[in-house]
Symmetry: D2
Subunit: 391 residues, 4 copies
C-alpha cells in the first residue's frame, strides 16, 4: 500500500505549518465581522489581552497580519537604524538569516557564531559585549528550527540586560511549547506567531515589546510608517476604540482566539510538559534505533522539534518521500545549511502528544529499512514507550 | 429593542471585510497541510490556475500573503524606481493613497485628479499623456471604494496601451463583482484580493501581471527581494515543484479555493448581474426616499457598493451607530475626505443579493427617522422592489 | 433575475427545519467522541443539566435521538395504555395527528376541537373534564405550527392539574421562542426539540417529565423497552456513569450544546422578545398590505410563526415557488387541512430578527404582485418598521 | 503524564462512534435547508443515488433518521409478521439481540448458534433450512462487532436464495470497510449506517431492499405506518418530488454526502485495502506480543475491528481506563457476553490507516505492562511494521 502525493497525509508531524487544533479550525470558520464593527473591535482587544498574559511583555502585544517572517522583517526595519551595532548570535539558519534584515537598515553587524549543531554560550555573549560596548542590540533565535536546537535565552537575556543593549528574540517555534516570555528572559522584542506550538495556521505575527524598544522605534527615523512593515502604526490598534492602520486578518484572529483559549484552559505548564515528553520519547527511540539526533548534545535539543541526523548513504529527500508514500506521514526537511543532512519531527501543538513520537519513529525506521538502512524499530518503540511511561 | 455593541450583527452589509460565504468558512476550516506537502503544493498550483481563468493576465497570478494593501505597496515597491514618471489618476481616497507608495520609490508623480464624486475621463488621460510622453506608468483605482465610484478602466487602458506606459490598476473592490480582467482592460498589473466580491476574509492579495511588468520589475534594482514586499520571490511559487519564499497562509488558500469554486460554478456573469441588480435596487430606493447617492452621476456608481450622501444635520457616525443599535445592521463609513459625508452599503459576495438592498434601505431609513430626518421608507422599498422585479 | 430551484436560497424563513445559528453549525463540526468516552459522557450530562434549567421539569430532561415526532410517538406509546382516557385538545393539524398515536395504545380518545384558526378555551377544557372525570391524560399542542396559533397552555395546565389528569404538551415549535416550561404550565410531559427556536438542525427530541408521568410510564406494561420508542430505557442515561441504551447522536448533542449556550448567554427573555417583535412586525406589515393572518384573532397568533391566509385566486404552491424564484426566499406551506390555504413565515432562532419580517413581507408582496394580486408593499414595510421601532 | 477523563482523547480507535473524517465534519456544518426546499430535495435524491451505487440493492436505498438500531428494529417490525419462521444465525451478541425484535412480531424463531468466537458455516445453514423448509426469513449479522468476527454472508446468501427465504443482513459495521453489497451476497434486506466505516457520526440508518422484501413488507399488515419505525412510509421519499413522512436529519444527510463522496473518490477497493491492512498489522503485532485475538481462527477476524482477548488476571475496564489515562487512546470494550473478556481496536473510516495499528498496539502493550502484564511491545511493533510493509 502506497499513499499518492495527492492523498491527504495521515499524520502531519512537521515544524510548521503544523496540524491545527480542531477547535482552531472551527474558530477560523466563525462569522467574519467588519473590522470596525464594535463586536470585532472588542474581540481584537480581548484577544490581545489574553495574549498579554502569556507574552508577558511590558506593553500590550502587537499582532501583525502576516506570518512571523513579517514580524522579524518588521522588527529589524523598525528597531534598527544606521548607527546601530547589532550583535547577531548565530547558531543556525534562521539566526543567520536575520542578518540580512538587520544589515538592510544600515547597522554594523557583529556576529557570534557557533556550529549549527551547538548553541550559544552566554559567557561568550558576555565576552563579546565586553569587547564591543557599542553594541546596541543583541539578536538571538530561541529555537533555531532547522537545527532543532534551543539557545539559553534567559541566561543570555540577563547578560544583555546588564550590558544595556536591547534584546531581540525570535521565539517563533518555541513560544507556546516551552517556557519563554519577555519578562523571564529580559527580552525587549519577542517575535512569535500562533502557527507553531499554538496550533494555528500561518498568517499572523505576535510581538512582545518593552518600553525601551518602543522608545527606540519611535526615535528611529527609518522605522516604517504606512507600510505592511510598520509596527508603529499598530501601537494602539489593539484598543477597541482605535482604528486599524489597514484591515486585519479577521479569520486568523478568530482562530487565534480559539488557540489561546485552548492554551490557557489546558494550562501552559501542561502544554509544555507534553511537548517535552514527546521530544524525550523521540530521542530515546532514535538512540535505541542507532540513529543520532542533530544537536551535538542532548541538552541542546528542542522540546518542540527533534532533528534526526541523516544516516550515511541515505538521500534525505528520498527518505521523506518514502515516509510519506509508505505511511502517509509528513516530516520536515532541514533548511539551508542543514538541508539534506537531517529530518525533523515536529511536535508542536496538537501533535505534541507522546504517541506521535511512536508514529514518527515507526515511519522513520520503516522507511529507512525500505531504503536499505535497517534499524531496530522494535527497540526504538520500546525505548520511546519507556520514556513516555517514565513521563 | 436595541442591539448591544457586543451583540453579533444580524446583517453585515459592508465594503470589506464582508460577510463570507458559508462554503468559504468551511474551506477555511479544512485540514492544515504542511506547505511542502505535495498535496498542498498541488492545491496551491490548482488554486492559481483557477484564478488565472478569471484574472486573465499574460502570466500566472501571484498570490501574496497579506490583505491587498500588501499587494499595492509591493506593486509600487517592485514596479517603480527612480527615473520613473507615474501618472496617478485620482478620483478618490484610495487612488490618492497610492501616491505615497509610488513616491517612496523615488519616481516623479504626475497627478490627474477629479473631485471625489466624479470619475476619470479617458480623454483627459490621453491629453496628459500627450503632454508627458515620459510617463512610464499609469496608476488607477477601478472602484474607489470610499466614494463608491467606478472608473472606466477599459477605456483608460486602451489609451495607456497606445502611449506605451505600464498600466497598474487597483481592482480590489471591483474584481469578482463586475467585469474586469487584465486582458480586457489592457492592465499590466492588476491588484485585487478575495476579501471583497469573492466573499473571503481578508488576508491575501492577488496580482495579475503582464510580461512587460515582469520585465520591468526584474530590471528594477530597487525591487524588494527577501522581503514580505517581494513579488519577484514569488514568481514561480505557484508551481507544485517550486519552493515558497516563506510560508503561505494555508487556511486562507483553502478558503480562496472554496470562493473561486463558488464563483466559477455560479458563473461570473450571474454573479456580476446580482451585484449590479442589488446596486440598482439600492439607488432606486434611495432616490424614492429622497436621499442622494454620493457619485455626481448615477453612471459613476459602483455595482458593488452604494455610497449615500449624509443628509444635512445628520452625524454620520451616529447614523451608523443607530442603524446597528436599532436593527443589527452594519454599514461602512467613508474614509479620509469622504469620512462623515457618506455611508456605504456594501453588496459584495454573499450579500450581493437584491433583498439585501431592502434590508439596508429599511435600516437606513428607520435610523434616519430616529435621528429626526424622516424619509418615506415605504416608497423606498416599493421603488427598490420595482427595480428588483425589472431585474 | 431568477433563482433556480437548485440554487441555495438567500433566506430560509421557515417553520422548521430552520436556518441554524452559525455557532451551532460549528458545534456540529466538533470532534466526534466515542459514546463511552468519559469526555463524551461528561458532555452529555452537562448538556442535560443546562437543558434542565430551561425545561424546568421535576426530573432531568430526556433526550431522544430522533426529531420530535419520535418524542411524540414515544410519549404516546410510553404514557398511554389500555384503560386510559385521553382528552385531546384539537386546534390544528398537529394536535389532531396526536390522536393516531394515542389511539394506538388502546386508550379511549375524547376530543375537544375548535376550528383550526382558533385556540382552545380553558373553560371548555374544564367543562369537558367535569363531564368526563375518568380522563387520565390531557394532550395539547402549544403552538400548532400549521395554523400559527398558540394555545393558552398555562391556563389549561392549571385546569388539568386541578382535575388530576396528566398534562402532555407538544411544545416543539414554541419552546425557546416564547415563555413555556413544565413548571409554569403544570406540564407533566413536555415534548420539544432543538430544531425550531433553538436554531439546531432536526435530529433530537427533548422531554421534560414529571414524577407522576415517570410513575405512569413505569406502571404501563405497554411502555416500550429495547426500542427506539423507549423512554424508560433512557431514564438514567444522562448520568455520566450510566450506559446509553443505544448510540446517541453525538454530533447533534454537540450542536445542541452550542445552541443552549447561545440561548442562555443571550438570555431567554431577550430571545423571546425578538421572536415576538418579529411576529408583530410581520402582522403589522401584512395588515397594511391588505393581507390577513390565518388566526381568527391576532391574540391567537404565534410569536414564532406568522401564517398568512392565501388571497383568493392565488395558488399557494405557486406563490411560494414564485417567492423563491424571484427573491431566493423560502417560506413554509400549510399542512393537511391548512395546506394550500396559508403560507407561513417562520421566525425561529437566528431568523427571529425584526428585519427578517421586512425581507419576508417584501418577498411575499412582490411575488403576489407578480401573480396578479397587487398589494402595497411600501405600506407594509412602513407599518412593519413602525412596529419594529415601537419594539 | 496522565490524561484526565475530561481531556479530549488523542486517538479514538473505537468500533463506533468512530472518529469522523474532517470533510464529514465540514459537511455537517453546511447550511441547513428547509426539507421542502427544492435544493434540499435534490440533495436528498442525489445522496440516495450515490448510495445506490455502493449498496447495490434492487431498489433505491432507504435512509432512516436514527442510528442503525432503528434500521434493525424497523426491519424486524416491517418485514416479519405472525406466521413467519425466522432462522436467526447467531455468532455473537448483536445477532442474538435481533431475536428480540424478530420475536416481537410474533414469528417463530429458529436459532442456529455457534460460540461467539466462531462464525456460521453455510453448510449448517443449508442443513437447517433442509430440516425447516418453512423458514421464511434468515437473519445474519455480517460483522458481529462485539466479537470482531465476520460471517461468510455471500456463501450464506447463496444457500438462502436457493431455499427461497428472504435474507436479512446486519452489515452495520462491515459496510464501507470490506466488500459487501446486496447483489453479491444475495441480500434481500441489508441494514447499515454511515457511522462506522464511512466515518460519519451516528444518526442515520441505510437500508438496501430487494423487490421481494418490499412485497413482503407491503403484504405485512403489522408493518408500521405513521411511525418512526415505518419503512413503508419512506419508500418514495428519496425522490425530489415526493414528500418526507417526517423531517429528515438535514445535517446528517449533508455529512453523509461528504462521506460518500470521500468513499467514491478514494475508491472502495482502496478503502477496503487499508482497513484490511490495518487489521493484519494489528493481528501480527498482537501475536508477536503474545496476545491472542478473540476469534478462534484468524480467518474469522474482521478487517474493521480487532478484538483482543483479555489476558488472565487483567481487569478489562481497568485496562481501557489505563490506556486512556496513559496515552489518550480510546478503545472499545466487549458487549454482553464478551464484556470484560476482550478489548476492541476499531479501524473504521479515518482511523483505518496502518499506523493506527502501531498506536493501538503501543498503548495496549504499555498499559498492560503498567498493570503488571508485561508484553514485548517492541516485538509487536516490529511485527506490525513488517505486515504493513508487506502491505
Amino acid at each position: 500500500m502506497r499513499y499518492a502525493p495527492s492523498d491527504l497525509p495521515v499524520f502531519t508531524l512537521t515544524t510548521g505549518p503544523v496540524d491545527a487544533y480542531p477547535a482552531v479550525l472551527r474558530g477560523l470558520a466563525s462569522t467574519v465581522l467588519y473590522d470596525y464593527d464594535p463586536a470585532f473591535q472588542a474581540t481584537y482587544q480581548r484577544v490581545t489581552e489574553k495574549l498579554a498574559t502569556v507574552v508577558q511583555a511590558e506593553t500590550m502585544p502587537v499582532i501583525l497580519h502576516g506570518e512571523p517572517v513579517l514580524g522579524l522583517e518588521a522588527a529589524a526595519a523598525s528597531l534598527i537604524g544606521r548607527g546601530d551595532v547589532v550583535l547577531n548570535l548565530v547558531s543556525g539558519v534562521y539566526a543567520k538569516g536575520f542578518e540580512g534584515w538587520a544589515a538592510r537598515s544600515g547597522a554594523e553587524i557583529v556576529e557570534l557564531a557557533v556550529p549549527y549543531d551547538r548553541v550559544i554560550d552566554p559567557a561568550d555573549v558576555a565576552r563579546v559585549l565586553a569587547e564591543r560596548p557599542d553594541v546596541t542590540l543583541v539578536a538571538a533565535c530561541h529555537h533555531d528550527t532547522p537545527s532543532g536546537t534551543v539557545n539559553p535565552v534567559a541566561e543570555i537575556g540577563a547578560v544583555v540586560r546588564r550590558h544595556g543593549a536591547l534584546f531581540l528574540v525570535d521565539a517563533v517555534s518555541s513560544f507556546g511549547g516551552m517556557p519563554v516570555d519577555a519578562r523571564s528572559a529580559a527580552i525587549d522584542f519577542l517575535v512569535t506567531g500562533p502557527n507553531k506550538c499554538l496550533g494555528c495556521p500561518p498568517g499572523l505575527s505576535i510581538l512582545g515589546i518593552s518600553d525601551r524598544a518602543w522608545a527606540k522605534m519611535k526615535a528611529n527615523p527609518q522605522a516604517p510608517r504606512a507600510s505592511i512593515l510598520s509596527i508603529l502604526d499598530w501601537e494602539d490598534a489593539w484598543r477597541a476604540d482605535k482604528p486599524f492602520p489597514f484591515t486585519p486578518s479577521v479569520a486568523e484572529i478568530n482562530g487565534l482566539e480559539a488557540a489561546i483559549d485552548l492554551y490557557l484552559t489546558e494550562g501552559p505548564e501542561k502544554v509544555w510538559a507534553r511537548h517535552a515528553l514527546t521530544a524525550r520519547a523521540c530521542r530515546a527511540g532514535l538512540k535505541a534505533m542507532g540513529l543520532a539526533i542533530w544537536p551535538a548534545e542532548e541538552g541542546f535539543a528542542s522540546p518542540t522539534c527533534t532533528a534526526v541526523r541523516t544516516p550515511d548513504g541515505i538521500d534525505e529527500a528520498q527518505l521523506r518521500a518514502e515516509i510519506r508514500a509508505r505511511y502517509g506521514v509528513v516530516l520536515s526537511s532541514g533548511r539551508g545549511e542543514t538541508l539534506g543532512r537531517l529530518t525533523r519531527i515536529g511536535h508542536m501543538g496538537p501533535t505534541a502528544q507522546p504517541l506521535h513520537a511512536v508514529v514518527a519513529l515507526t515511519a522513520l525506521g520503516g522507511a529507512l529499512a525500505g531504503l536499505g538502512h535497517r534499524v531496530d524499530v522494535g527497540a526504538g518503540i520500546a525505548a520511546a514507550l519507556e520514556a513516555i511511561d517514565a513521563g
